[in-house]
Symmetry: C2
Subunit: 769 residues, 2 copies
């Protein structure tokens, strides 16, 4: 009788693994408690009395106490740690039975017991292999074992990224990591703005401001170096970068591009040293994107050979003008030239704003734009002119002038064409901004990826916590952005080289390219920094970790130097007019020269064997990738041209037709730019042949290509260019690439070679404290 | 001879429309100049001499002067304004010929002339109907004529949105539009934080802080009203809202939910009046999402019946704690309870932080988190405890206590389960945050949409500038977000009602619902405010227009109260375990009860007639929409369950399997929540039957449904649930809905009834100044 009792209790013991899981985790419903009980009642290998005892343990509301749970846990754990491998709870139950119950009984009932308990396990939905780890002391997994590897030379890749600009980049980096450039709190606008001015002065003193100006004016005539400076400075404070860009780029370059020798000689030397801070006053409150419509007037008086600069009404004030609120002494002002009551279109004039003491001059009214979302170290202002008189020589007269007889003279008779030609000479701004944006993306990714490599959270049952970058979702969030940033880097190197070697006949194309890349890259930067913020969680929200500044300072990059959405439409329009229309001209499709056609390639590509080809070798073949990008770029512009013709043919007003297709046009612009970006990435991979970093660049390039295809997979599926099996294979390969690139991710951001003093995020160091 | 010459010149005159367009806009290439010349040479109706003259006018580099262009323009304009309608430039040329050349000549040559010039027009790609408007003085288009209409009663819709909470909402609105709540510059943290404290005090004085507390403690026992207060306050400063939430929600509700009668009586009255400012100290530096792993200890000493609260190391400090840096006097501190060396899991303790003068108490070390991306009116801090002693009674003992004998007692024996049950009682925070987020989205949309309705930029050739909201792209950017915000509004009303009527047995489900909606809605808010910023251009970047604060303050909503990505995985997990696992428990799939199955419905839906059905009546049928959402939600959870089983069956460690499927799980969570949101939107439309706003709500609901389907169209196409013809029809219908809803957009944001003093954006008023 005694023995029977012991066995009886012991029989309940086989149920311990289940009791533990049920009471420590599960939340059973009324129905489920009943099912559980009825399954137990059906056990053929358990006596009625034992069942009764067991049933009390699995009764809703009749919770065990802590000691009992601890006892179950300890008993099960002793078995699990015994050495054997178990695949489910029923296995453990059987082992418990073998250990504690008479061998005869086990021989007779063991099989049924295991079968019944397995059924129960399935019914409860317990994933036994996972639950078992509750009772183990270690839990090695692939996810845990994953991590950073050093598969290539970071130094070599860094050198490759810098290319022939390594020298100037090194100089700028060595300057900006000095303590003089330590970040300041942006809370007090006055303090921050003064600091940014001081920084710009240091940078100018080092000779970086004038580097792009002609040697005759003290510069080095090296515009490529100027862009490298702007990009590299962007690893530090971005207000400094924009103030730098306003002074040496917008203000100085407007003198250089729109003025003539006399202006260059008089102003550039002082601009290049920051002795003469100035502004670029084009945008007005009522005319930002549609800048051709500005209303400021410059009325010529032949008697005294002067212009009167005037703001006709409040909404025609110059707005958002950098350097205006505090430091600017002069401005390049865009205004409609009026001679004898005739409007000769927009020209640019040098207008003094302040005297040497910083007091505004008579007729100049300046209002501070106040606090902004970011870039608070830049003193933006609103300027209005109340009959301000400037001498004839202050007209920037490269493209138009007033002659000795007081007559208007110009080599470009059309006011439109002249205006857009003027704008075209300022295209450099659309190169500087995306290059700065790329640097900001690099900083954000360096912070988020290095943090993700250190930060541990959650882990397998019974195992240690895992670096969050080992999670597939975290990789999915950051790795494609890393690939896009590398892609953007190579694309902007290409853009810069094209710009340096530009010919007159390429200007429309280069303007479209610069505008498209500016939009594409700055949008990516916004998205990248958003993801970096979220990926760093609460730490990403603290200003000290710098994503705040990076994100908010670059936020306006998508708007200034041309609103991205407008620019993408202009890119599309320039594609449809085959670059035969002035780039900036938003006249709504006066010229559509694009002839829609289905190319042979696209027909070939819809070959059923290809639309379903899921081989990795095919998906990573640059020919497939390029063809996919090219197909999309061509098809979208084709269909846009056809659609426009059809709508207009059907009698719709061209402006309305344009509006109907507007969304389509933005996609035309994007697809075109993506194609250019992929081409350059593939070219960079080719160039790195045989180098230690070739493989990782190829992976990044594949990720860029496939991820972009995935972003547009709805379109590809709609077109029948890809079938579902292939898009699924692409998704899988992207996941795999993310998983693999994760190992290289820290070296890849280290190859950006951003000075630690510039990154400055305490989360990158505090972890170890 | 004289007459002949005149005719000769006049023949060139028919070419004026072309000359004007070529020289004022087009940028011809070398090749194109040649083509143009060769076409002219082939004119049979022009004498050699005339051709020679004309050819000089179309020679690259031989630009006309301004007077000549003006003459062409004036000549053409005179004809165009003559009254007749012209469809292309060749038509105008013919009219010029008829006007200026001998009738005989025209009779003989007119036909060929028109034919030749039409060919030329096509060759140059000139869209004649567009180019003609250069010469007109007015250009009416559908796009120009579009605008705001008043098709429903804004007041009635506002009443419908407020529902039975109208009373409390009205009271809060009337308070927060007072000048005492005028915004302050966030630059000076000290000033801003004091101001926010003052605002909270005013709100508390009005009785809104304690409104959710029991009547016995001075409240009104109205949690629903509490949520309405939090949402409505969010039209004002969001730092105030979060400080309000920390004080009355987190701090007060932790006492209410985790403590017992003695704590309620002692603390709640003073908390509800803000006499006793406090903190909620759960998160630690090393444990945010995985909060179960916190390391702060509370060691019990039975001799003197006290706990010693201690921070074992720097990375176990409580971090980001609101109210900690300056104002908090006490905190609910989560710590592991240790009795006689045994760890009894996490419990909560009331720990005094500061004396009445605000000085920190012995053993308390507080560090200021400093400036943040937003919410700078909230004083977040890091707290560490150096052997701080608190009495036994300070343990919040609803779920566990130390009894008279110094023994641990609890009704929930499992530490895990008890911890997650404790967290579950705090689910209200996950309702307050998305409701605040919805209000922020509403504010952002009110600003961006009203601005878009006023702001004009570009327009048809020769016509006036058009409100930017008339552009399809602008509509595409904002209208779906307006629909999502309405959708979120109804979903959160549903969530709140479910919460108010909650039963114990529904808790796992409600926690999943709250977490999923919190993630879905706060992510939408981030995306919405991003788009609003860009849609307002430079104006959106100025802090005065408030998108800065709205965007940066809500940025952390996606992280706090649970990281969105983690929460979506938990939602998925709760779906796979059929709500049988404690919601917050991120043990990686110990329980998967979901039984994968292909439902009949989904098979039916793949009927070829349906997957290609593009009828508008079908696409706007709630049954189709719900089925599509349901199919996706079901299929994703089905396939996730199958995938998990397969991977584990193939021998993969369950944690690794979880990791492989992580991206999939996030989609499971999202799809489930989207289904719930659509159901509630459809319900709201039904409820509004017969009302003036029924139609517009139906349109918004259709836009929400179709836009969400479009966002996932890649998936639907992959699955064969939709075919390309149908996704294209959906895109077209979305564009149409955006176009139509644009007319209602201003009334729709006005129906949010946000006090003007709260919106406060100068761009909404300055336009007219």
């Amino acid at each position: 009788m005694e023995a029977t009792k012991a066995t009886a209790t012991a029989k309940n013991l086989v149920f311990y693994p289940f009791l533990y899981v049920i009471w420590s985790d599960a939340v059973l419903r009324d129905q489920e408690w009943q099912t559980l009980q009825s399954i137990i009642r059906d056990f053929t290998w358990m006596e009625k009395e034992d069942k009764a005892t067991l049933l009390t343990k699995v009764t809703q509301g009749n919770a065990p106490d802590r000691q009992e749970i601890a006892h179950w846990f300890a008993t099960v754990k002793a078995v699990v740690l015994g050495g054997a491998e178990y695949n489910n709870l029923a296995d453990i139950s059987l082992a418990l039975a073998k250990k504690e119950l008479p061998a005869d009984w086990v021989k007779e009932n063991g099989r049924q017991l295991a079968k019944d308990l397995q059924k129960l396990e399935e019914n409860l939905g317990i994933v036994g292999r996972s639950a078992i780890y509750r009772f183990k002391e270690d839990h090695p997994t692939q996810t845990t074992a994953h991590g950073t590897e050093m598969a290539f030379s970071v130094e070599e890749l860094a050198r490759f990224l810098d290319g022939d600009q390594a020298g100037i980049i090194r100089k700028v980096k060595s300057l900006i990591q000095k303590p003089a450039f330590d970040y300041v709190d942006p809370g007090d606008l006055a303090v921050y703005r003064e600091q940014v001015l001081i920084w710009c002065k240091i940078v100018a003193d080092a000779g970086f401001g004038k580097i792009g100006y002609p040697r005759a004016q003290g510069g080095e005539g090296d515009m490529e170096a100027y862009f490298s400076v702007m990009e590299t400075l962007s690893y530090r404070d971005l207000s400094m970068v924009i103030k730098f860009g306003v002074q040496f780029g917008l203000w100085g370059m407007s003198i250089l591009s729109l003025g003539t020798e006399k202006h260059h000689a008089k102003y550039l030397p002082k601009i290049g040293t920051l002795e003469l801070p100035g502004c670029f006053a084009m945008t007005e409150t009522n005319h930002g994107s549609n800048v051709r419509g500005i209303e400021t007037t410059a009325t010529y008086h032949h008697r005294d050979k002067t212009f009167t600069i005037h703001t006709p009404h409040r909404l025609a004030r110059k707005e958002y003008i950098g350097n205006a609120a505090l430091h600017g002494r002069m401005a390049t002002v865009f205004a409609k030239l009026i001679i004898d009551g005739t409007d000769y279109g927009v020209s640019a004039f040098i207008v003094p704003l302040r005297d040497e003491n910083g007091s505004t001059l008579p007729g100049i009214h300046i209002e501070d734009c106040g606090r902004k979302m970011g870039l608070n170290g830049v003193d933006n202002g609103l300027i209005s002119f109340d009959q301000v008189i400037v001498p004839l020589e202050n007209m920037l007269d490269r493209f138009a002038k007033v002659n000795e007889q007081g007559e208007f003279e110009t080599p470009i008779a059309s006011d439109n064409k002249r205006f857009f030609t003027m704008l075209g000479t300022l295209v450099g701004g659309r190169i500087g901004i995306p290059r700065s944006a790329i640097a900001a993306s690099k900083s954000g990714l360096a912070i988020a990826i290095r943090y993700g490599d250190q930060r541990r959270q959650f882990g397998p049952e019974g195992g240690e916590e895992v670096p969050i970058l080992n999670y597939r979702m975290h990789q999915r969030r950051l790795m494609p952005l890393l690939a896009k940033t590398y892609a953007g880097h190579f694309a902007m190197q290409y853009m810069t080289k094209r710009f340096m070697k530009r010919k007159e006949s390429e200007m429309q194309e280069l303007e479209a390219l610069a505008a498209g890349l500016k939009s594409y890259i700055t949008w990516n930067t916004t998205a990248t920094l958003q993801e970096c913020r979220e990926a760093c969680g609460g730490k990403g929200y603290l200003s000290e970790n710098r994503i705040d500044a990076l994100k908010n300072d670059t936020e306006i990059y998508t708007t200034f130097e041309g609103d991205n959405t407008v620019l993408m439409q202009l890119v599309a329009k320039s594609r449809l007019s085959a670059y035969r229309d002035q780039f900036e001209n938003m006249n709504f499709f006066t010229i559509v020269t694009y002839v829609a056609s289905k190319t042979k390639t696209s027909l070939t590509e819809k070959n059923p064997l290809i639309v379903r080809n899921t081989d990795e070798s095919h998906l990573t073949d640059p020919d497939f990738q390029l063809n996919a990008f090219d197909y999309r770029a061509s098809d979208l512009v084709d269909s846009a041209a056809r659609r426009m013709r059809r709508l207009i043919g059907d009698g719709m007003d061209p402006f309305d037709a344009f509006n109907v297709c507007q969304h389509h046009f933005v996609n035309v612009g994007k697809a075109f730019i993506e194609k250019v970006v992929l081409e350059q990435f593939i070219h960079a991979v080719k160039t790195s042949k045989g180098q230690s970093y070739e493989k990782v660049l190829k992976k990044l390039c594949d990720l860029y290509a496939l991820h972009t295809i995935e972003e547009n997979k709805g379109w590809y599926l709609e077109q029948g260019y890809l079938e579902g099996v292939k898009t699924k294979a692409i998704r899988k390969l992207i996941n795999q690439l993310c998983w693999e690139i994760r190992k290289d991710a820290v070296p890849l951001v280290n190859a950006f070679d951003i000075p630690e003093a510039c990154l400055s995020a305490p989360i990158l160091t505090k972890q170890s404290s």
